[in-house]
């Protein structure tokens, strides 16, 4: 489809309220008689909770209640994990899905990471609640601490969960181990790398928040919360945590100030505010702090990988093998274990046709904050390993890394392409994307630029990061085989009112991706109405049809087709009614630019508004036609979609200090059909900056006692606008066959290759020094030490 609206760079409808500060966030929700909750987090990474004495805190000014895990133990169930690695048979029900180690809403006998909630204090004001936290006396008996996955799996390591031997949540594999090992054993060239994809802290501008209310007369609960998945959270909280009727829980997510993966998870605060609202007979509000976010909210990445690539001397990759140790933190988060295994492992061959591949993941519990998704999750870890080792291989055989990539690409005529690891790539022209990126970058004629940089005391390096990123979760049955306990379809309702105005209600929830703009664009051209006549509603379970939320870049490619098909149904009904009114066959009704008329009779024109009114009145309907224009569609895609692209990073390293500048960044991304290029490019720029953050500065650092030393934004570095290069963005457009829009994921994909592109550029800049790899974050001091070795040896 195409038209004046769909595919055009409309400015986002949402933006004026956002930039004026007028949008309503959860923290803005204020209800009569509302009380305020604060959570007491453990100061220990691992300890027995021997006793919690709440008496002093209860006597503090304004305190209404101090809640501990002991009171909750028989009141609610642990937070479920719904993505269980390995494609287990559906465990549904019973809860907790056979997942040992599930997180209790408040700690009972043991805490397993710094910040693990031990008690909740409710007071008249937020300050009173926070002030009373210090008066809660907890008797801890510290236990030995383990903070890395490999150490947690070692013999004699402290065990976190009695029910989890060796701290091993899952040993997960994909691919053909024997064929891969055989290919490696017989290969001419074998290269290996040890890589650390360090822990990162998602830092949306808005920390999380929750407000709970309970109506004693109806028994209805309402939860306002920062959720990417209001429907899913309603389902899980009502049935599996609180044990209340599904119909008695309404979940509302108003404006969300960014998420990047973190807000798709269940957190203790959600059931707590609901429970406490019922217990106290007053609404209860909890708003996290920026410092609180650092230990209250899922963190990202954290895989230690060993990767092996085998190939011929002339550049043909014959096998790829990866072993990864994934650090899940103290508990299995809602979907964290799946992110760390399948999303990573099945993605490790990227754009390349590799005859034999195998990946194994050890997912382990440690005394750190639980792991979840971070923009590009799993796929970014896979592409970092792949694209680093492809470069390593190219250098080993003395070939240009770009040429080696070209030689091994999945060819454009090979789709659908089974990558041998569980993914079937839908469509693509990888060569076109790679060549476009290289062409725009001026690759490889950068020798003169390198010499010029050297004369300025800078080392210039150029690096490529190419990628395929599975998106559009997804086909529900396929996801069940992956171990996802729940459907992953989307839905949409389109109503055309008697006035001709249109309400589009979608199941997907926006966390800042301009749903209200882009989803309207799908409707505007089809119906031929003004953009101003279309409103898009979402994120309230009472108003919106079911949907699984926004994650994995799925909203537009799974929710969008639902809207598209619903509006096509609306059109069909209009045509049916028009045929009846005109007395012609349906096939003789022309629907064009908001008008219907009998073919060949341009004088006999009805507007869609006329038709909406006629169907609203419902007079003289043809037999079998229901009145009104109101259509709901549920869309379960036949398969995932696979956006892809190629990025080229140019870095300059100061030879005196090791300081690094990203001086150019060329990015080609293919998201299939684009609904709104302005919105998509905004996501792409943000995604690239996210990737630059990880490769250059971000690191969640735990000391050996499990204390997070990078515990605020003074010590955890996030990229700033001044750290952003001037992006040179281009795209290719390869529609997916799996939905009626041809749309693929877009929101996170450009994060996926960034770390590899920059790290490859750094290694290119110092290639003459014999450097094989530099661990992230690539800091000035690390580079200075590398450069210094040169001076020492000179």
């Amino acid at each position: 489809m195409n038209g004046q609206s769909f595919g055009s760079a409309m400015t986002a409808k949402e933006d004026p309220a956002l930039v004026r500060g007028a949008a309503q966030y959860v923290a803005d929700v204020s209800l009569p008689h509302m009380a305020h909750m604060a959570l007491l987090g453990s100061p220990h990474a691992h300890a027995i909770v021997k006793d919690v004495d709440t008496s002093a805190a209860e006597a503090m000014p304004g305190v209404l209640k101090v809640l501990t895990g002991a009171e909750l133990a028989d009141q609610m169930m642990p937070l479920p994990c719904i993505w269980i690695p390995g494609g287990v048979e559906s465990h549904f029900p019973p809860h907790p899905y056979g997942v040992p180690g599930a997180r209790p809403v408040l700690a009972t006998d043991r805490v397993r990471h710094v910040g693990d909630p031990v008690a909740a204090v409710v007071a008249e004001t937020r300050r009173q609640a926070h002030a009373a936290l210090a008066a809660v006396k907890v008797d801890y008996q510290p236990l030995p601490v383990v903070t890395t996955a490999k150490e947690a799996l070692a013999e004699g390591a402290p065990r976190l969960h009695d029910a989890v031997p060796d701290n091993l949540n899952a040993y997960w594999t994909c691919g053909d181990r024997e064929a891969t090992d055989a290919a490696i054993a017989s290969a001419d060239v074998v290269v290996e790398l040890d890589l650390v994809n360090q822990r990162t802290i998602n830092s949306p501008m808005e920390p999380r928040a929750a407000v709970g209310a309970y109506d004693q007369t109806t028994g209805e609960y309402t939860l306002w919360t920062t959720s990417q998945s209001p429907h899913n959270h309603r389902f899980l909280l009502a049935g599996l945590v609180l044990g209340i009727p599904f119909t008695k829980l309404r979940v509302i997510s108003p404006t969300i100030g960014g998420s990047f993966g973190t807000k798709g998870y269940l957190y203790p605060d959600m059931p707590l505010v609901l429970y406490l609202a019922r217990e106290l007979g007053r609404p209860v509000k909890w708003v996290d702090t920026r410092a609180g976010l650092m230990t209250s909210t899922v963190q990202g990445r954290d895989q230690v990988q060993h990767v092996t690539l085998a190939g011929t001397r002339d550049g043909r990759i014959t096998a790829l093998r990866a072993t990864s140790y994934a650090n899940l933190g103290g508990y299995p988060s809602t979907i964290g274990p799946g992110v760390a295994t399948a999303l990573m492992g099945r993605s490790i061959t990227g754009m390349y046709a590799i005859p034999a591949a195998f990946c194994e993941v050890y997912a382990a519990f440690t005394n750190t904050v639980p792991l979840g998704a971070q923009r590009g999750s799993g796929r970014a870890e896979a592409m970092f390993a792949l694209e680093r080792i492809v470069d390593t291989y190219a250098r080993r055989i003395g070939r240009d890394p770009a040429d080696v990539r070209r030689q091994n690409l999945v060819p454009a005529d090979a789709f659908p392409y089974d990558n041998g690891l569980g993914w079937t790539y839908d469509s693509g022209d990888y060569r076109a994307a790679l060549d476009l990126a290289l062409d725009k970058a001026g690759y490889p004629s950068v020798d003169a630029e390198k010499a010029a940089a050297r004369a300025r005391g800078k080392r210039l390096g150029v690096g490529i990061g190419a990628y395929v990123a599975i998106c559009g979760v997804g086909p529900s049955t396929r996801m069940s085989q992956e171990g996802m306990l729940g459907g992953t379809w989307e839905s949409a309702n389109v109503r055309m009112h008697p006035t001709g105005d249109v309400t589009v209600t979608i199941g997907s929830a926006s966390t800042g991706q301009s749903h209200e703009t882009t989803f309207a664009q799908i409707v505007v051209d089809e119906l031929g109405v003004d953009a101003g006549a279309v409103e898009v509603l979402h994120s309230d379970t009472l108003k919106a049809p079911y949907g699984q939320g926004t994650y994995g870049s799925r909203s537009f490619s799974v929710g969008g087709p639902a809207v598209h098909q619903a509006v096509l149904k609306i059109k069909d009904k209009i045509v049916t009614m028009a045929a009846h009114m005109f007395g012609v066959a349906k096939s003789d009704v022309v629907f064009d630019a908001g008008k219907v008329y009998p073919r060949g009779d341009g004088d006999n024109v009805k507007s869609v508004q006329d038709m909406a009114m006629a169907l609203w009145y419902g007079w003289n309907l043809p037999p079998g036609l229901e009145p009104a224009l109101d259509e709901t569609v549920h869309f379960d895609p036949p398969d995932f979609n696979y956006p892809f692209g190629a990025h080229v990073a140019f870095v300059e390293i100061d030879e005196e200090t090791g300081e690094l500048d990203v001086v150019r960044y060329v990015a080609v991304n293919d998201s299939g059909t684009i609904g709104n290029p302005l919105v998509v490019d905004g996501q792409i720029e943000g995604s690239i900056l996210h990737g630059l953050g990880q490769v250059l500065m971000e690191a969640a650092v735990y000391d050996d006692q499990g204390h997070l030393t990078s515990s605020n934004l003074l010590t955890y570095a996030l990229p700033k606008a001044t750290d952003a290069p001037f992006f040179e963005l281009f795209r290719t457009v390869t529609p997916t066959p799996h939905n009626s829009l041809g749309a693929k994921g877009a929101g996170e994909i450009a994060t996926v290759p960034v770390a590899a592109a920059v790290a490859n550029a750094v290694c290119d800049a110092v290639a003459d020094l014999g450097v094989r790899h530099v661990d992230m974050p690539i800091t000035a001091e690390k580079l200075w030490r590398i450069l210094n070795r040169e001076e020492a040896g000179a």
Binding site: R126, R127, H130, A131, T289, A291, E656, T657, E659, L696, M697, T709, N712, L713, L714, T715, Y716, A717, L718, K720, T722, T779, A780, E781, W784, R785
Partner: protein, 282 residues
């Protein structure tokens, strides 16, 4: 944590401000809030009473003194310092340092007094104040005191408010420059250095001062001595730094003292090079 409520005073005179500070041991003067408000958020700072200096008239502005020096009101913003033509020509290092702090919203609020007040707070301007032998005028109970910044750094914390900063007239043929390596998370310095050279053919006088987190700002006498009589070539500067002990360069989490020392040397050599290559150098 969220900060607990604090009392707030908005005196209209310096005398009143000092008396509130003297009467409350946990009172803290508040200028632009660059350091204090961030510290209160993290819990690294405490305050029972915030004594807001912003309503006291007469604490803001930049003027030349009859003897050729400069006097800057303590509440003068870093933006004003960074853009003032007199500051830029007379003590360019001060303008450069002010312009290198934070971002525009911070520079529009942060003040010279506030940036200098926490003498080991890891801010930028102490390196400049020390190198240029600036003085601070302090309002104290019962009157005023004038201390060199070097003395101020070592003095006891007491009820007092910086009301003005003065920079003496510069020697002929002198010029200053400021360089820093900023932290990644915030733009506070990993290390910052201010250099002033008096040049007549070669360097005849040198003033070099350095600041960084969790370290008192210090003059680097050995580096100054090494520069005199030279043309300030890079090797001379780096050799002088290589001879320094590394301990004074410790204190920045995530950076080794060895690296910070080296970078301070590089930054110093860049400041020297900028000064020596300037057209004014005769």
């Amino acid at each position: 944590m969220i900060p607990q409520p604090v009392d707030y005073a908005a005196p209209r005179t310096v005398v009143e401000a000092v008396s509130v500070l003297a009467a409350n041991q946990d009172a803290r003067p508040l200028a632009g809030g660059q350091c204090l408000l961030a510290g209160l958020q993290t819990g690294d700072e405490t305050a029972g009473v915030l004594v807001d200096l912003r309503r006291i008239p007469g604490l803001r502005g930049i003027r030349s003194t009859p003897d050729g020096g400069l006097e800057v009101g303590a509440m003068t913003t870093l933006y004003e310092l960074a853009t003032d033509p007199v500051v830029r020509s007379m003590v360019p290092a001060l303008a450069e340092a002010a312009g290198a702090v934070g971002d525009p919203p911070i520079r529009n609020r942060a003040t010279i007094g506030g940036n200098l007040a926490p003498s080991h707070g890891g801010t930028d301007l102490p390196a400049v104040a020390l190198a240029l032998d600036a003085h601070v005028r302090l309002a104290v109970p019962g009157g005023e005191r004038d201390l060199s910044f070097a003395e101020y750094v070592l003095s006891e914390r007491a009820p007092r408010v910086i009301t003005a900063v003065s920079v003496p007239a510069r020697a002929p043929h002198s010029r200053s420059a400021f360089e820093k390596l900023a932290q990644q998370a915030v733009t506070l310095p990993v290390t910052a250095v201010c250099v002033e050279l008096t040049v007549q053919g070669n360097i005849v006088a040198a003033r070099v001062a350095r600041t960084g987190p969790n370290q008192l700002p210090v003059r680097l006498d050995q580096v100054e001595e090494a520069l005199i009589g030279t043309d300030g070539d890079r090797a001379t500067v780096l050799a002088a730094f290589a001879d320094l002990p590394s301990e004074p360069f410790e204190g920045m989490s995530g950076y080794s003292a060895e690296y910070v020392r080296h970078v301070t040397g590089v930054l110093t050599s860049r400041a020297v090079r900028r000064i020596m290559s300037g057209e004014w150098a005769t």
